[in-house]
């Protein structure tokens, strides 16, 4: 991604430099060539429609190239690959909290293996922050009350700056950290240190502790919709709309169950707003997503390592 952005940047830089230099040269040339001197009179010119059209249309065409190329990159940036490693991120004044699918938790430091797509699923506990890793050329605001998503593909081991790029109060400039990209083997070693419970397993435990499991059963008999295979699938709502069951949909359905009623079900689910923490919510979302990856209907999927690309 960084290479793509840099390529476009260099292209833009070249075109702009050419335009700047030609305009500057003309101004300086005119200023000297047509300076006030005896015997020289200014020639009055009204203008020229042909010229006006030329220097509107040609720049416009160049601009459209800028637009198209930029849009292509942006499109890619907004679409995380299907089988990325997922990192749930909670930002707060003034720190970054990360949780890997395997259950490792980190603060202000994010370890990832080289060569693996990483998808950040981020939310904020207070104000707007922004997840910015200059080396990867990515930035995404992190909003309270919903998920935003960013992804990157680290290609070189090393330690990279992580900044908060949206002004967030007193210690905004202290809300920095690093992304540590490791060789897969080092990463395994670092991972193995924990003995953590995978996030989806935590979610599964919560799922039964909170009583979700009594209605959301894995057969068709439940009073709530069956969540198996739900993730990333279209859902027909009672009011006739169809929405995609992405992370934000699952999140909203837990916090505000009445907001989007699935066709054929009654709005009987109580709200969990204010009753579970952002971390617990992330675990539940991770669990529901793990169900989506198992068409057979077993629960408790491990992690993304076993995921198969979805065809949809």
């Amino acid at each position: 991604m960084a290479n793509n952005v840099d390529a476009l940047y260099i292209f833009l830089l070249t075109v702009s430099a050419l335009m700047t230099i030609s305009i500057f040269t003309m101004i300086i040339f005119f200023a000297i060539r047509f300076r006030k001197r005896a015997g020289h009179q200014a020639e009055q010119i009204q203008g020229s429609h042909a010229l006006e059209i030329t220097w509107s249309v040609i720049p416009f065409c160049v601009f459209m190239v800028f637009f198209g190329w930029g849009a292509l990159i942006y499109f890619k940036e907004r679409k995380p690959p299907d089988n990325s490693a997922e990192v749930y991120t909670v930002a707060k004044q003034w720190m970054w909290k990360f949780e890997h699918m395997e259950g490792q938790r980190e603060i202000n430091e994010l370890h990832v293996p080289v060569g693996r797509d990483v998808k950040m699923i981020m939310t904020s506990q207070d104000v707007i922050h922004s997840f910015y890793v200059p080396a990867f050329r990515i930035k995404q605001d992190v909003l309270p009350g919903r998920y935003t998503v960013a992804w990157f593909h680290p290609t070189k081991p090393g330690t990279y700056h992580l900044f908060c790029a949206e002004y967030c109060g007193t210690s905004h400039s202290g809300m920095v950290g690093s992304v540590v990209v490791m060789e897969p083997r080092d990463y395994e070693a670092w991972m193995g240190g924990g003995g953590n419970q995978p996030l989806a397993v935590t979610g599964e435990r919560l799922f039964s502790e909170l009583g979700c499991v009594t209605c959301h059963r894995s057969d068709t008999q439940g009073r709530g919709p069956n969540l198996v295979g739900l993730f990333n699938k279209p859902v027909l709502l009672e009011d006739g709309r169809t929405v995609t069951a992405d992370e934000n949909y699952i999140r909203e359905s837990i916090l505000q169950p009445a907001a989007k009623i699935v066709n054929g079900y009654k709005p009987i689910m109580p709200t969990f707003q204010g009753q579970i923490s952002d971390e617990q919510l992330n675990a539940l979302v991770a669990y529901v997503k793990s169900l989506g990856q198992q068409p057979t209907g077993q629960t408790g999927g491990r992690n993304m390592a076993t995921a198969t690309p979805k065809t949809q």
């Binding site: 505000q256 009445a258 907001a259 009623i261 009654k266 709005p267 009987i268």
Partner: protein, 235 residues
């Protein structure tokens, strides 16, 4: 606009005391004033436009809760108020007409009627606000809005979303009421001058442009009424 020409040493006074020094003719002055008011109304459209934008977004998101909030408003009082405001618009239009025709007494009577309608409107609005206050429908710590959303008897109202509806209701109608109060002030001044027979066929610009303002305030209400009072009423 009150008029007192700026008399200056090097500037001859015009025949018409209402003609300001920097205008060449009465027509120019009148056209400037009228255009000024229209341009001002354009800015007012954008001022309320920001609110309409917020309203549109949240109505789109929280339609059910907006419906519930809407149904708790008193449509009889709201409808009556709409009628009252339409009547006041008529009396303003008649005041302008009377001024154009030079009927001094009619101008004063129509303006007083207009202000009367305006006060009635604000009074009814006050009653509505009072009801909302008593019912704890005013956003804030004591906000409480139990019930179910209209199209779904089994979905309880989301308190936060309903609070956004009532916030918008109070801010939009509150700003509208503030405009009414400003209008009443304008008309009070104009009535004072009208009683002194200031306005006639040759000069009635202040009545006209204050009238434009008042009609605009009426139009805002013409939209506020269905948008706030009549959401999902049939359920």
């Amino acid at each position: 606009m009150p008029n007192s020409p700026v008399a200056t040493a090097n500037h001859e006074a015009h025949d018409n005391p209402a003609l300001l020094h920097h205008f060449a003719s009465e027509q120019q002055q009148k056209d400037a004033a009228s255009l000024g008011m229209w341009v001002f109304l354009a800015t007012e459209i954008m001022f309320f436009g920001g609110m309409f934008c917020a309203y549109l977004v949240y109505r789109y998101w929280y339609f059910g809760d907006f419906g519930a909030g809407s149904q708790s408003l008193n449509v009889v009082l709201g409808g009556t108020n709409t009628a009252v405001l339409i009547c006041s618009s008529l009396t303003v239009a008649l005041a302008v007409r009377a001024a154009q025709l030079g009927k001094q007494t009619t101008v004063v009577v129509c303006l007083i009627l207009t202000m009367l309608f305006g006060v009635v409107f604000l009074g009814i609005k006050g009653v509505e606000y009072h009801d909302k206050f008593v019912e704890h429908h005013v956003p804030g710590a004591s906000f409480h809005f139990p019930g179910h959303i209209p199209s779904h008897p089994d979905i309880p109202i989301n308190q936060q979303h309903a609070q956004i509806f009532f916030s918008l209701y109070f801010i939009m109608t509150g700003l509208h009421a503030l405009h009414m109060i400003v209008g009443l002030g304008l008309f009070a001044v104009i009535t004072y001058y009208a009683m002194r027979k200031r306005y006639g066929p040759h000069y009635c610009t202040p009545v006209e442009i204050a009238g434009l303002y008042w009609h605009f305030v009426d139009i805002i209400w013409i939209y506020l009424f269905p948008l706030l009072y009549l959401i999902d009423r049939h359920k």
